[in-house]
């Protein structure tokens, strides 16, 4: 192949997506591309405090980011899962944990034994009590997972809750150290190549022209390149995910520093609670068809636990994605490519998935449609799976106390989701994935947490004697409790491991 010319990459926008992309390309493909990022200080970052999935740890590791440094800089806390309150019925609650139910080692998944006990009327606790991550979360305890897979303290994973407005600057310093170039300026026009129709250059307010071979659209909701300029159609999913607004309002932390994010169902949507080291993020995600902005604002003000730190701020969005995330010589990453509400903390995961796919399929100057199509297949799969998983949260409800809940309870859902629900209800089976996010335990957590109970179980779970399963499950529950009690308090662990510098 010989020497190939470097691809000149221009990243459009400097939020979380933009700086993650710039840092990853500069680190992982230094011989294949140059990276220039254009951003304007006049435009703020869209993020409102971020809850993440465990995959972010791989990303940070690949970039050589030190965990404690990163956590201190972004005022981060640990996250063992997401708590859902009031979803299937008012008063219900469960945690979707990052980790297994049971020891996660058997040939037959733990939830089949759990179902068998339930069906037989044998003594059995809620399934969360057989999860290390759930038990630690409710106890506000944390320590890093044990590397020995034989120990029950190895059966959980973790992510972070951090301040998104601090993450982008942190990554900027990483990216610039790796050689990415930053240009300050407001983009006023995008120049297309007359012959090919590809993107040729960005034009800035200053009159500067930034040419490139490959443009990464990280411009957020504006979708400056792939949407506004290349007019790639947007697939609107709001009939399944009707929430189209969020009102965010940070406050002082008054209660415990929980190692988990909470998502509490509200009259016309749900409310997040994300505890950081220095404050708690709150927000109400709602559907403007079912509640007014003013009522939503009053609801969040009434719900937060401590003194507000800022005025409530309203964001608008539509659930869905671009028909293709990669078009011509433009790859969209983050909100420019699509939006799914942060119910399962997938925003940064989707950014990361797009960056990883781009790195694996990184093009030459002359872009091959084969690489582009494979990228789009991978990204569509990620979006569509997460879409189904989110719809499940709304649809698996018995609530009809407001018009909103009545709508989502009775709406028709995508066939791809209905098949999954039927399969679980029938006998606890989870559709198997080989790649992608949200594997078996995640689906089990949400199904069981939202009252979709299997009518049967895998026959192989009938093999052990009933009393052996009863005593085995109880022994496991006690062991998880004992190990949890030995762990430090979440805040104590943070103060020792990664305390933030005093807030200015």
């Amino acid at each position: 192949m010989g020497e190939r010319e470097k691809v000149n990459v221009v990243v459009v926008g400097g939020g979380t997506a933009g700086w993650m992309a710039a840092a990853a390309l500069a680190k992982l493909l230094p011989t294949r591309c140059t990276v220039t990022l254009v951003e304007s200080e006049a435009i703020g970052i869209g993020g409102v405090g971020e809850a993440t999935l465990p995959h972010i740890r791989d990303f940070n590791e690949r970039l050589g980011i030190n965990e404690a440094e990163f956590m201190a800089a972004t005022r981060a806390t640990f996250k063992l899962g997401i708590e859902f309150r009031d979803w299937a019925r008012k008063g219900d609650s469960y945690i979707h944990p990052f980790g297994a139910f049971g020891r996660g080692q058997g040939e037959v998944d733990f939830h089949h034994y759990w179902s068998r006990l339930r069906e037989a009327g044998a003594p059995v606790a809620p399934i969360g009590q057989y999860s290390m991550a759930v038990t630690m979360a409710y106890a506000n305890r944390f320590s890093l997972p044990d590397p020995d897979p034989m120990k029950v303290e190895s059966t959980f994973n973790y992510a972070y809750q951090f301040d998104a407005t601090l993450f982008a600057p942190f990554l900027r310093s990483v990216a610039e150290r790796l050689g990415a170039k930053r240009i300050e300026g407001r983009i006023v026009d995008i120049e297309l190549d007359g012959a090919s129709g590809d993107v040729a250059a960005l034009k800035l307010e200053s009159g500067d022209r930034i040419a490139g071979d490959l443009f990464i659209d990280c411009s957020g909701f504006v979708s400056l390149v792939i949407g506004k300029t290349l007019n790639e159609p947007f697939e609107d999913w709001s009939k399944w995910l009707p929430c189209d607004r969020a009102v965010a309002m940070p406050c002082r932390t008054e209660t415990a520093l929980t190692p988990y994010t909470s998502a509490t169902a509200m009259d016309a949507g749900w409310r997040w609670r994300i505890p950081l080291q220095h404050r708690t993020g709150n927000g109400y995600v709602y559907s403007s068809s079912f509640i007014s902005d003013d009522d939503a604002r009053s609801a969040i003000v009434a719900a937060v636990e401590g003194d507000p730190i800022a005025e409530p701020r309203v964001l608008k969005f539509t659930a869905g994605r671009r028909a293709r995330s990669w078009v011509r010589n433009c790859v969209s990453v983050g909100l420019a490519s699509g939006f799914l509400e942060p119910l399962e903390s997938t925003s940064i995961y989707l950014i990361q998935a797009a960056i990883s796919a781009l790195v694996e399929l990184f093009p030459e100057k002359q872009i091959s449609p084969i690489d582009r199509d494979e990228f789009n297949r991978m990204i569509d799969l990620e979006y569509d799976r997460i879409r189904d998983f989110l719809i499940l949260h709304y649809h698996a409800t018995e609530r009809s106390d407001t018009a909103f809940w009545d709508y989502v309870r009775t709406m028709s859902v995508p066939d791809s989701l209905q098949e999954k629900i039927d399969l679980f209800r029938r006998r606890g089976r989870i559709v198997k994935y080989r790649e992608g996010v949200f594997l078996d335990a995640s689906w089990v957590a949400v199904y069981t947490g939202q009252r979709i109970v299997p009518e049967g179980h895998d026959y192989r779970a009938d093999l052990p004697a009933m009393d052996a399963i009863v005593s085995g499950a109880e022994k496991l529950r006690q062991e998880i409790l004992a190990k949890t009690r030995n762990m430090p308090d979440h805040r104590a662990h943070i103060e020792r491991y990664c305390p933030m510098a005093d807030a200015a």
Binding site: M1, R62, E107, E455, G456, Y459, R460, D462, L463
Partner: protein, 265 residues
């Protein structure tokens, strides 16, 4: 839901049927399993082909069968892969080997590193299984960097004896006979298999392992997806013979291919 499944009838008397019966009794011992056994027809290649993939090793582990049973007592040999001869122009042969090829470096898959270096040697040179196979040597396990994979080359008669004995030991029962017809229920499900001696075998579930004629399955419907436009071969001529080897040779011929299924080594 109606009542639980209680009885299963497995049709076929070769290694396919006995493997199915053993697995069902091992993992779902609450089921009554009867094997309607007859000699597999000549075109039931799955009952006659002695070559298996590495997955059989896991299958044996799942059944609770040891290497002593499946290799030593059943007189099986190891096979590390298949050597394809004359399949592409300018390439004398290549080995499709089991186990790993090369090793990833820093998360970069090995095949990408191999491409970057301009394919310095044939791809199978980076497989421990392929090299051992060419040298007719064997060592179990391998290392983290070079993992060996192997399937078994069965001695069909011995393996058949083993699987039958094991299935019976696990509680399967045998009903010798050939399925000649089936009784269908009103809803189109199979109610019973009728055998050549006039006997009927009823069951809740039928597993048809009786070869391509599919005496039971074909009575439910005769839908068959034909793939012969892509896979043209439709005849096989078999002869006894073959040498001891760890690789099987598949030689391209003017109208298909021929293989020497090596004897168990």
């Amino acid at each position: 839901m109606s009542g639980k499944m209680q009885s299963v009838a497995v049709a076929g008397g070769g290694i396919v049927a006995w493997s199915a019966a053993a697995a069902l009794r091992r993992r779902l011992p609450m089921l009554d399993v009867v094997v309607i056994s007859s000699t597999p027809p000549p075109n039931a290649l799955a009952d006659r082909c002695a070559n298996t993939l590495p997955s059989i090793v896991e299958f044996h582990a799942d059944l609770g069968l040891s290497d002593e049973d499946t290799i030593i007592r059943a007189q099986s040999g190891m096979r590390l892969g298949t050597r394809f001869i004359g399949w592409s122009e300018g390439v004398e042969d290549y080995v499709h080997a089991y186990g790993s090829y090369g090793a990833a470096v820093g998360g970069i898959p090995f095949n990408q590193l191999w491409l970057r270096e301009g394919q310095p040697s044939a791809y199978d040179c980076y497989s421990l299984s392929a090299e051992l196979g060419r040298l007719v040597r064997f060592a179990g396990g391998g290392s983290a960097e070079a993992q060996i994979g192997y399937g078994l080359r069965l001695t069909i008669d011995r393996y058949h004896e083993l699987m039958r004995a094991y299935a019976l030991h696990l509680g399967a029962t045998e009903h010798p006979g050939e399925v000649v017809d089936v009784e269908l229920r009103e809803d189109g499900f199979v109610d019973a298999a009728r055998l050549s001696d006039g006997a009927q075998v009823q069951a809740d579930l039928f597993v048809d392992c009786a070869g391509p004629e599919a005496a039971i399955r074909s009575r439910v419907d005769d839908a068959f997806e034909l793939w012969s436009k892509w896979l043209l071969c439709d005849r096989v001529d078999t002869k006894a013979g073959g040498e001891e080897s760890l690789l099987d040779e598949v030689v391209a011929k003017p109208s298909g291919w021929s293989s020497t299924y090596a004897r168990a080594y």
